[in-house]
Structures are given as structure tokens and as C-alpha cells.
């Protein structure tokens, strides 16, 4: 198996916890993993991305080559579009549609929707909304992880195991609320991508 993922978002949104969970799951499954992330200046409200590569074979580069990503997973619609050159021909975009507006020239919502609609393989919905419904808005990154799960070569149960490992210390209630959000995202994505 091999899944190359570009994780995208705005500094402080929590894309790195998605990476941590997939990392924990991959380690448990004895998979190879490389995950390059950005620390420092750009974490202050700027655009951030992380390259996450999972494979049953050894992985060479920490960075995903252009046109090589199986998935773009984004907490923010404009940030999903920033990485299009990295998406492979048959790759999928899974993105939150709730915009994070902290710049004066942020595009109109309809412009972003049209641009996403031009892509062949997209799962896009308001994940903040769904997270609020089933858990809390803080869990929108778990909704995103759930929505991305059908496109990752790792069974959803194994990703849930990763959630348990990462949030275990914080108590059963937090684990359950995150898993609830994860499952809601998973179901929603399945219904959209059918």
C-alpha cells in the first residue's frame, strides 16, 4: 500500500493532530511513514501544510513530488486549492468548506466553490457545522480525518485506534467525542463520493 497526503490549513487550525493520529496508526501497523511539517514563523496564522507519506515499502523523500499526492486533505477551502499541482491525476481533494478569513483579499465563496467543482474528485462540505452537530467545533479536524479515511489505504478501525492512542491520556469522554466526529465525517464522505 501507499498513500501520499498533502495536509493543508491555516496555522493553529490543527492539521498536525491529523498527522499525529495517522502516524500512531501507521506505527502500530508496522508501516513506513514520513511526515514533513512546518514550524516557526508560518504557524502564526499563515498558510501551513504537511506532507504525509504512508507505505508498506521504505519511503525515500520526505517531500511528495509534484503530481504525486493521492490526497489533498484541507481544513480550509482556499488552502485546499493552493496545492493542486501536487495532486495526482486520479487523486482526491477532501476539504472543509468553512472559510478562514484573515486576509483582506480573501476570494468570494462562490469563486472557491466553482474552482473546487472543476476538479474531478472532490469531497467538500462544512465540517465545522457537522462537528458542532455531533461533538464540538473543535473536532472539525476529526470530521476531516473521517472524510479522508475512505481514500487512505488503512482501515477506518485502524485510524480509530490511532485516535485512541493519541487522545487516550485526555480521558474516555474526549476519545469518544473525537471518534464520533471521525465516524460522522466518514459516513458523510461515503454518501458524497458514491
Amino acid at each position: 500500500m501507499k498513500t501520499d497526503i498533502v495536509l493543508a490549513g491555516v496555522g493553529g487550525q490543527g492539521i498536525l493532530s491529523i498527522a499525529t493520529i495517522l502516524g500512531a496508526a501507521a506505527l502500530k501497523e508496522n508501516l513506513y511513514l514520513k511526515q514533513a511539517e512546518v514550524h516557526g514563523m508560518s504557524q502564526r496564522g499563515g498558510d501551513v501544510s504537511s506532507n504525509l507519506r504512508l507505505s508498506s515499502e521504505p519511503i525515500a523523500s520526505d517531500l511528495i513530488p509534484l503530481g504525486g499526492a493521492d490526497l489533498i486533505v484541507s481544513l480550509e477551502p482556499m488552502e485546499a486549492l493552493r496545492y493542486l499541482p501536487y495532486l495526482s491525476k486520479n487523486g482526491w481533494i477532501v476539504t472543509n468548506t468553512a472559510p478562514f478569513v484573515n486576509i483582506p483579499d480573501y476570494p468570494e465563496q462562490s469563486v472557491l466553490e466553482n474552482e473546487l467543482a472543476n476538479q474531478p474528485n472532490v469531497v467538500a462540505f462544512d465540517m465545522d457545522e457537522l462537528a458542532k452537530e455531533v461533538a464540538s467545533q473543535r473536532a472539525s479536524n476529526m470530521v476531516l480525518l473521517g472524510a479522508a479515511a475512505p481514500f487512505i489505504d488503512l482501515e477506518p478501525e485502524k485510524i480509530e485506534e490511532g485516535i485512541r492512542i493519541v487522545f487516550g491520556k485526555k480521558g474516555e469522554a474526549i476519545v469518544e467525542s473525537n471518534i464520533k466526529a471521525f465516524r460522522a465525517g466518514l459516513e458523510k464522505a461515503k454518501s458524497i463520493s458514491k
Partner: protein
């Protein structure tokens, strides 16, 4: 027994050092090196063994402290970002001269592409200049393995060893196999030749001759290093010299195996015999290295007569920015357009609707209120200049503040403002954070105090080292005392809380001190919003 763990390159190196009998870790925070000391601080072995892991005031004090530990025969590491090497340069270059007793690793984390830095300098040049051997890991496992190897190399040669990291290794995670049982720490033991530790001319001359011989020995050791290798290939039109992390991009380009002979370099001085053999057997050589063309320049020499050499200087690889699997792929495409094993990938165009999203000061950050009040006051003057410094508040350069005119290095706000005031500039305002102030601002402030230079120093004190994620700041709780102790006039060391509701008070204070014809220090204080949130969450 070994256990698999998922670790950043920084963390793998720190764990390797801990498991190899580390006694002291020293550092000043700086991206991408910060996680090295943070990992040591949070590891249970540190508490159990009493391993030193407190932050130092700056990189120079950190290197000297680590060298003191090495003098006593114990193993030490000192970590910093590449520009920290400049601050530490006096100590680092002379540590080649004193040599090391206990194994000592100086970890320089370079930042090609300037993700979070002001330049792309390459730490390998420092090591060559100081006659210090260098290790440059290509992956997280090598980071781990090289800690122990580096300590042993340092002890064998009696010289500190530079470990050169780059951002994409420091901040990339992979599975690392680590030992379960840490090695014992060294007992205290003193240098065999105490003379070389006192760098007076008579001793230094003797030591320098010896150091040159020892560096030749280090060059010999590079030929047989387990981290350097010669792998033959069938296509001799090209030979490849590839260093550190760049090795991964080469392997990514040729998943089925590289058709050309390859010399992989992760230990310096460069293995001359290995590279010589490659140049003898191949028609041309491509040098792939992260950062500046360090190996390439050496291979070319001044006259560049021996063989065809390709790389960053001839333009097959980009001269600026970090390497990527794509830039390495493109280099082969340029050299051999018909090479059959090069994969072609369709790449779609970038979206035209996305907009740049630069970083910004957090909402609720005190620096915002300092800039807000300062900008409003400075409107009253004809030609104000504000000299900035290194930290979150450098973001004050960007819109909506557009508040600073310069940013050079750690501490330069105060000294550049002084030079400008010396030139007749008024108002001359320096703005510096608390951690940067104790790192490199205090000595410059002493200059300004001694001359009572008409300028204003604003210390925007957020009680932490904010940009790198909230590490302890060495001056917390004593900023005013430091200024007074240096001799600042008590009437012109003034403190205010940088809160939105005090906007007008801040303006008044700034105005009064700008109009004072002498040196003033204003401490504008408010806890960093990020650490304040963390502290609040802990209390819950």
C-alpha cells in the same frame, strides 16, 4: 532490544544522544533546532540522571557551557539554528583549537528556503574553517545513530563534531529504531594535554600544528565511515556525489535503483579517494547537496579543469531555496532528456484564485498594541525610524502595521538605532523582545547608556521566547533590574502594560521619552497570548 518510535529528525538526534550517555544539553531556541533541547527536557532519563537541559542566554554561552562539560570528560550537545552559529562562532571556531575531552556535538540546523530565517547560510563552511569534522544525516535513523557515533568520533579525534541538519530533516517524522537501554555516562576526567585548553599564543601555535594533522586523520576516517559509501552503476556517463538529505531525493527519482555510480556523503571532510575514483570512472559528475554548493566548490577547485562538473553553480540545480524531489528530477531531465528510467508525471497548473496568506501577530498579542500606539505617536514626527529585531514582532513589518524599517540580527535593533542616533536621526526607536534583549541586546544597551544616546528602546516583554513556541526567557522578572544595573537612569526606565485600554497612556509615555534628549528604556509588558492560554488550560 530496540523499539520503534515515530520521531522528528531533531528528536531522533536528541534521543540518540540521551541513549549514548549524554550529561548535558545546551541551546538557545531557534527554528528548526528548538525541538532538540525540548525533547531532552521532556525525557524521563533527564530527570533520572540529572542531565543538564536548561535554556542558555544565547548560542555562544551555550557552546561555551557545553565545552566546559566536555573539558570535564562528559558528553555534551549544543544545538542552534544556522544563524546561531554566527553568534557562537568565536567559541565554536576556537573549540577546534582547544579540542574536546568528553564527546561534544555541535548541532547546526540550517534553513534552506528560509522558512523561518533571514538567510540560507550553510554551517558546513564553519566546520571546515574551524577544522571540525562534520556529520550530515540523510534520514531520521541516521540522526539517531550518528549521536553515538559522533560522540565516539569526537573522543577519538579529541575535537568537537558538527552535526548539520536541515529543516526538512529536523521537522520531518519517520519511524526510528532506538535502543531500550541507555549507555552509562562518562565519569569526570580531565584532558590529557591541559596546555591546549589555554589558548595563549605559545600553546596555540603548538596546538594548531597538531590540529591540522588531526584533521588529516579525520579525512582518512571519512573514507571508511559507515555513513559514506560508493555504489557502482552501469551508466558511466555520469557519477553522482550526493550529500545528506539530498540522497532521499536521488532515490525518489530512481525508485528502481540509480543507473549511475553514486558516492553518498554523510561524513566530512569529503572522502577524497572515493570521489576521486568516481571522477576517474565517469565522464562527468553531478553534485547534489542541500544548501550552498559546499562540496561542489571543492570539487571544481579554482580552475575547474579536471572533469565536467554539474550542480548548483552550473545551473542544473537551483542556486537558491531547498532542494525538492522535483528539482533533482529536473536536473537529470536536463542532462539526459532521453533517460528511460525517468518517470513522467502529469502536473496540473496552480489555481489562479488562491491568495497569499502571510503569517500575522496573534489576536490578543501585546506586540499589536505596542505597534498601534507607537504608530499613532510617530505620526506626530517628521521622519521617525524604527529599528526592529528578531522575533514575532518582526511581523510588525507587514500590513496593517508597517512599523519597522530594519531587521538584521539578534540585538541589532538597539545598536542600529544607536548608530542612527549618532548620525543625527530623531526619533530613533528600537523595538526588541525580552528574550532577544537578554540574548544580544544588553551589551548594545550598555553602549547607548554610556553615551546617553538620545533614543528610545522599547522592550516588548511577553515573558517568553514566543516565536519558537514559548520557551523560558532568561530575563523574565528582571528586565528593569538589568537595565538599571547597566546604568540606565531610573527616571527613564519606565514600565507599562501593553493593553488595548492603555493605548492613550502608551502614546503619552512614548511621546515623553522620544522628546527626552537622552537614552530611555520602555518596558511594555503583557504575557504572550499563546503561553497565557496554555497556562490557563493547565490550571483547569
Amino acid at each position: 532490544m530496540k523499539t520503534k518510535q515515530l520521531l522528528l529528525g531533531d528528536e531522533a538526534l536528541a534521543l540518540g544522544a540521551l541513549n549514548a550517555g549524554l550529561s548535558g544539553a545546551y541551546a538557545y531556541p531557534g527554528t528548526p533546532s528548538t525541538e532538540i533541547l525540548e525533547f531532552v527536557q521532556s525525557h524521563p532519563l533527564t530527570k533520572e540522571r540529572g542531565i543538564h537541559s536548561h535554556w542558555s542566554s544565547n548560542e555562544k554561552t551555550a557552546v561555551e557551557e557545553a565545552l566546559g562539560m566536555s573539558f570535564c570528560g562528559k558528553r555534551s550537545i549544543v544545538s542552534m539554528k544556522h544563524v546561531g552559529m554566527n553568534v557562537a562562532a568565536d567559541a565554536f571556531v576556537n573549540s577546534g583549537m582547544t579540542g574536546a575531552n568528553g564527546g561534544m556535538l555541535v548541532i547546526g540546523a540550517d534553513d534552506p528556503s528560509m522558512h523561518s530565517s533571514q538567510n540560507e547560510q550553510d554551517s558546513r563552511f564553519y566546520a571546515q574553517f574551524a577544522f571540525v569534522p562534520t556529520l550530515e544525516p540523510s534520514c531520521q535513523q541516521e540522526c539517531y545513530d550518528m549521536a553515538r557515533y559522533g560522540f565516539e568520533l569526537s573522543e577519538k579525534l579529541g575535537i568537537p563534531v558538527l552535526v548539520r541538519l536541515v529543516t526538512r530533516l529536523s521537522h520531518s517524522r519517520a519511524v526510528v529504531e532506538a535502543d531500550n537501554e541507555p549507555m552509562a555516562q562518562n565519569a569526570i576526567s580531565y584532558p590529557k594535554n591541559p596546555r591546549q585548553w589555554v589558548l595563549m599564543p605559545a600553546n596555540s601555535r603548538e596546538r594548531y600544528a597538531q590540529l591540522l594533522k588531526d584533521f588529516d586523520k579525520a579525512a582518512e576516517m571519512s573514507e571508511t565511515s559507515p555513513f559514506n559509501s560508493y555504489t557502482d552503476g552501469s551508466d558511466k556517463r555520469l557519477g553522482i556525489v550526493v550529500t545528506g538529505l539530498a540522497y532521499n531525493y536521488l532515490m525518489e527519482t530512481f525508485p528502481g535503483g540509480c543507473p549511475f555510480p553514486v558516492v553518498k556523503v554523510s561524513q566530512y571532510p569529503l572522502p577524497a579517494k572515493m570521489i576521486g575514483k568516481l571522477m576517474d570512472e565517469c565522464e562527468a559528475v553531478l553534485v547534489i547537496e542541500e544548501g550552498q554548493p559546499f562540496a561542489e566548490t571543492q570539487l571544481r577547485g579554482l580552475l575547474n579543469r579536471t572533469a565536467k562538473i554539474y550542480g548548483k553553480l552550473s545551473g542544473e540545480l537551483p542556486r537558491t531555496g531547498e532542494l525538492t524531489p522535483d528539482s533533482v528530477h529536473a536536473a537529470f531531465k536536463t542532462l539526459f532528456p532521453d533517460l528511460c528510467c525517468l518517470k513522467e508525471t502529469e502536473v496540473q497548473a496552480a489555481s489562479q484564485v488562491t491568495k497569499p496568506r502571510p503569517p500575522a501577530l496573534c489576536q490578543g498579542c501585546g506586540h499589536r498594541d505596542v505597534y498601534g500606539a507607537l504608530n499613532d505617536v510617530l505620526k506626530e514626527y517628521e521622519s521617525p525610524k524604527v529599528f526592529g529585531d528578531i522575533g514575532c514582532y518582526t511581523l510588525g513589518y507587514l500590513s496593517p502595521f508597517n512599523a519597522i524599517d530594519t531587521c538584521l540580527d539578534m540585538g541589532a535593533s538597539i545598536t542600529m538605532a544607536k548608530g542612527a542616533a549618532d548620525a543625527g536621526q530623531h526619533p530613533a526607536v528600537a523595538i526588541i523582545g525580552d528574550s532577544t534583549f537578554t540574548h544580544s541586546g544588553m551589551t548594545g544597551l550598555l553602549d547607548a547608556i554610556n553615551e546617553n544616546t538620545p533614543m528610545v528602546v522599547i522592550i516588548s516583554d511577553n515573558l517568553t521566547t514566543g516565536m519558537t513556541g514559548g520557551q523560558d526567557s532568561q530575563g523574565t522578572g528582571k528586565i528593569e533590574q538589568i537595565c538599571l544595573g547597566l546604568g540606565a537612569h531610573p527616571d527613564h526606565v519606565r514600565t507599562i502594560d501593553s493593553l488595548p485600554k492603555l493605548h492613550d497612556d502608551m502614546m503619552k509615555l512614548f511621546r515623553e521619552e522620544i522628546d527626552y534628549k537622552g537614552l530611555s528604556v520602555i518596558v511594555a509588558r503583557r504575557e504572550c497570548i499563546q503561553t497565557a492560554r496554555r497556562h490557563a488550560a493547565k490550571k483547569k
